[in-house]
Symmetry: D2
Subunit: 424 residues, 4 copies
């Protein structure tokens, strides 16, 4: 494929929408993106361990799941060289255009899909227009298909312009499980970035609105806790059990009761639980998945210490062992206002943009903040850009869809802002 074969951005978004893959299983997606950035003509394309530090990954599914999607990607025509590089779930890539010694600018987009079943009826655009998900039960229901189209489109646009500096596009896997941001940082390509832009469509902002610098991310940590006790016959020897289901229930009650914090808003939720085998056996094992969020990183740490205490003592109270594993994590970082101003400037000159906001509350969690944090640690600055798009229903719901004109808006705004940073 050459640059001339590159599909237009909307077509590209539709092709990516058709083959959604869950977090850490973006095997075909990575292969396809490698094709596309090669067609653009990048100078470097990092994949596998070169893009993702596998040891730092969170929320990686079981090997059987990884294998199933890896095999499916092969059937779907993914490239052998890419499949070899990303085997075991080191998906994602970093595409680089290098043009001299000028500033290093980054653009981060995310690439994974969700376990949502896409509707089949004609009211749903992708179904009506023939690009509904080919993978039953998996769907791009958050707009990452649009993000990838913006990423490739912006890269292609800038490849045709002159600048002095380096552009790195980070196609990050596993955002939905807050598991890909940290390993992408650990692979090292973020280290020398001077200005980083991250982009998300929608979030309730209509087509034509651009938020130049999102704020009020929530720091988050998601964990899986396993209580291991001892089973016993519930009729014949109830006293011999060490009851993991009771440890779990005590933990759930008390985790939700962790006190509010005056210094920042907080959230605690146990969202999944699974325990025991049958009604006549004292449950030997119970697993919960939980998360804490906070408006500041120190408050998250304080809440997490409370979580630790509840888990430890709920286990101890029922004679159970406890093991806890982090399955998703992202810090709180705000957008830099200077860089947001650059986006404002760029957005103002885009004709399809009707309203530009310097700042806007995000109110959720995102692991782009890992990249933003790393950039700040090295003296650079970052901003998280929201490109408004009319969406018929909320993110993560089956009827979610994007207004495709926002893809072009995103490309124009980001091209403008990145160009301004590359050629100040």
């Amino acid at each position: 494929m050459t640059s001339e074969d590159l599909p237009d951005a909307i077509d590209l978004r539709r092709r990516l929408h058709e083959y959604p893959e869950p977090s850490w299983c973006e095997f075909r997606t990575t292969s396809r993106l490698v094709d596309l950035v090669e067609a653009v003509g990048v100078d470097e394309c990092h994949v596998g361990e070169d893009a993702i530090d596998s040891a730092a990954r969170l929320g990686v599914p079981d090997e059987a799941v990884l294998d199933e999607w890896h095999e499916k990607a092969a059937e779907r025509g993914a490239r052998d060289d890419v499949l070899d590089a990303v085997e075991g779930g080191t998906t994602g890539l970093v595409a680089v255009l290098e043009r001299g010694d000028g500033p290093v600018v980054g653009l981060r987009v995310d690439i994974d899909a969700l376990p949502v079943a896409e509707p089949t009826d004609a009211d749903h655009e992708p179904a009506a227009n023939g690009f509904r998900s080919a993978e039953e039960g998996v769907m791009h229901a958050c707009g990452h298909d649009a993000h990838m189209a913006i990423g490739v489109g912006t890269l292609a646009e800038l490849a045709n312009r002159e600048f002095d500096g380096t552009l790195k596009v980070f196609f990050q896997p596993a955002e939905e499980v807050l598991g890909g941001g940290c390993p992408m940082v650990e692979a090292g390509h973020v280290d020398d970035v001077d200005s980083l832009f991250a982009v998300h469509v929608g979030f309730g902002y209509p087509t034509g609105t651009v938020v130049a610098g999102a704020e009020e991310f929530l720091a988050i940590r998601q964990r899986r806790a396993t209580f291991t006790g001892e089973s016993a016959h519930a009729g014949a020897a109830p006293q011999d059990g060490r009851n993991a289901i009771r440890a779990m229930a005590t933990a759930v009650e008390n985790l939700h009761g962790i006190p509010r914090h005056a210094d920042a808003l907080t959230r605690v939720n146990v969202g999944r639980a699974e325990a025991g085998r049958a009604s006549n056996v004292v449950a030997e094992r119970a697993v919960i998945e939980l998360e804490a969020r906070a408006g500041t990183n120190p408050v998250l740490e304080a809440i997490d210490r409370r979580v630790d205490g509840v888990l430890e003592h709920a286990a101890g109270m029922h004679g159970c062992e406890l093991s806890v594993e982090t399955i998703g994590r992202a810090p709180r970082v705000d957008s830099d206002s200077a860089l947001a101003a650059v986006v404002c400037e760029a957005a103002t000159s885009v004709s399809a943009v009707e309203e530009v906001r310097r700042r806007g509350a995000f109110g959720a969690s995102e692991d782009a903040t890992y990249l933003m944090d790393a950039v700040a640690a090295n003296g650079g600055q970052s901003t998280y850009v929201v490109v408004g798009t009319d969406h018929p229903s909320g993110h993560h719901t089956p009827r979610f869809d994007v207004d495709e004109t926002s893809v072009d808006i995103g490309i124009e705004v980001l091209t403008g802002a990145i160009e301004a940073e590359l050629s100040p």
Copy 2:
């Protein structure tokens, strides 16, 4: 197959051990038993709806599971006529020898296996002697293989003797889920039984010991409760959720705290729980499986009313709907001492029997009590006989095995007792 082709009881037990089937999936087992009782030469053999009132079944697995085992039974050579009759899970049979107008005597044995993986090493007799389970993950780990051998053996023995009356052998399915006793009663063949014997091997009594009348069964009711609330984003809108996982935890805490009862021993256990999807979603749905037991039927009713109250209010407290389904049930019935005396008499004359106990505590639950209860309701009497057997590990554990000499002891004792009742 004719009477001459009948395998001896121990060989029969081994062949049945090799093909264990879970509750309500005893398709091949039923077919095989039909073969055997036909070889004995019974006068009637009831299968399907004629043996089991399907509407009264409890603990029936999903259709997919039933279909899988039905298909497997066909592959294993089960008879088409039997497979047709028991399709959808009306397994089990009632075999009848009719010899005049004398008393009607019943013998009840159970036929289902357990979800236990059988060991492969040579220390485990069935593995060493080539009759380990052919079905991975399923095992006769409670002795029902021996029970069937005793049932067929006793039937064959009595078929060769003269008596005036009727012998009915009830090969009952789904005892392990306490789901087969009631539907077997509802099918009607228990109604005219004057004397009923039920039999179980082991329970800690060694080979050579016989307990003529077990007592202190626990009445039991097992239920599945489903809490349905409403999901919400745990970060963005926690207030919109109606949290099923919290309803579940509150229920678990309070069910285990249901007070003891001065009139009888009681048990309460929540043994299984499953709820929610992911840490960042307020859980919409939670399911628990629980049971209550009591030393008397009225106390069980009292405890179950407490269970109802806890479930209802745990749901209401968190704005959830509740649905509750009974998945297993058995009343408390004690053995009649007059009939137990008959067993004592018979056992005393069996040379391999070293110790005969008139009574013995059972201390667990059994749905043979449904049959015993029905017999009592119609003026008959029942006794639950325990035939001791040396077993290397507890019932329901992987290393459970029976001392095969107990199979012959069981046949001898029951033949003697039944003959005494048929020809008083």
Copy 3:
């Protein structure tokens, strides 16, 4: 007493500090204030039901407590006419200066003390200077003594000036239990107020600072819930009990777990619990005192509906009856910025004022908001003024004290602001 006998404001504060009285027991305090405002020469002085609608009171103590303080007030020399008027706890007064048809301006100060034992050592100013509390275990530990001094001082100051309009000073009882604001409104004297000033000293602001318009009050509702079950002997008949202590525990667990709200900050606390008589009796009765707070009135309503659900179902789960009583309440109301601007203007011209803030977060609850709410409902405007004072320890702690220079500052600032409103 005539105007010439009026003590200076600091002396007045000390005399009031010496005789603190708890909420609804401010009998002597009301008598003393009537003396003082009569000395000033007010045109009207409303006491008893004329100042307080007794039916709307919250948090009223037992009759025995009221009687005890009423009697003590008589011993302390309180006036018979006043004692008659306020008998049964209709404490507080409204003092009115009427000078023509101009605007009606209100000033609200609170008058009750706290159940805190005042230190005796010389490090504590009131002890060192001879005006420590004469009532053991009761103390002006929140500055209401200073508020009264400011109220009387401002009234006296304005009585000497010319203006066209009406000044009403509301000496409100029972602020500490959030119980006096509503009944003062219901008595009717707030209805025609065009501009209302409320005042509080301290809150961490140092002497010399004035906050012209406090904001971010938390709406609050405090309740007492009583669970009534049935006692039973814990050894002999545990099943006969309807356990109020368990209902209470379930309520506590689940009240603290009421979910956060995305639209406003919230608080839930069960701060007091009392249940049962002895370890060997199933508890028949349990009482808890709890509160919910929220940053907006609608969110408080939403939280309170959750509270209702938890209480009702915790009771139902354990077969208990429930009764719930509101013991304290205050809405959220913010200061009007136009009126705050008037305070800014006045404060700026006071020489002892070093810093003036137009707005400031309050972050707690106050029932002055009832008066502010009523004024707004009638088309008027309000502002809540904080007069900074150096205080050695936090409000409600034993070592709390005010820097007395702030009393004069408060009088000057409020006199200025009120005069500006009366003579615009």
Copy 4:
């Protein structure tokens, strides 16, 4: 007072009924009993530390309470020498008749009353007949007044007979709090007892029935647990609290959920709770009183280990310190059947006795078991005798009363049994 002044047993019971005293406050009662046994003419009378090892006492009230009752006893005419000996709450006495080297026989009766308010109406015999409690809120509502009458009466009867041996009557304090049995043992006078009789009236057995040997006592341990956390303002700084009320609620939920035990019946109850000060303060301190009971001593130990674990981890979960104190305790001991046979023999010859039962279930707890246990440890034997009495309502309720004819029956039966042991 001399032997001739001794009131008859029924009159004696009425006089004792009139002046009930709570556990460890039996100051007047002890004085009165000393008078009585001296009138009988005992050889030894041990009081104070000589009868009670004060260090081993449980459930002792606050010093203020002790002082109040001590003073009241003085006003009621108690003897100075006795009051001095029992000051601080070493109430009770051991009265001894020594007649040679024969066997040592003991009789144990208890002497304390209950915090129950006695009815005043004429339907209540003591009110109708002028011996209603003179101490408001305290009542002999369990029959200990009758026990003392039986104790004195039996002593007086035997003092008039000839025997070879020693009779010790143990007037034990503080049975209602299970606090006096152990210290009476520790004082040493039980050590040489060969045969011990304990006696209780009623328990649902009618007048005329005697149970010679009660069984199935429940071992018991009662404890007070205090959780100490840290208070915080519930609105302004909820995160700063270490919430003792939450620790308490978690403990209550989980204590009641301690699993049943297959080896013995068990009981767990939290019967009293008290925590916190006000709704707007995170509670700093919570106290609960709880008990565990079991049908055997080892099972009680097992349950108590569970209790320990729950308390410890409930505290830890909420960052609280925990302190636990035993406030009542009694082991399980059964009556010896040989000694019960002696009672049967004696009872059979009493004309007013209509039914004699060799054994009977007690089903509650009693600290006479401490004395029985000590006797057994030294090679002696014991039996706990129940003397039936018609009682209009249950023990510990306000309308409890005894049929006074049972007092004479008790004296006759015990005199007969003791004499048989003394002169075998």
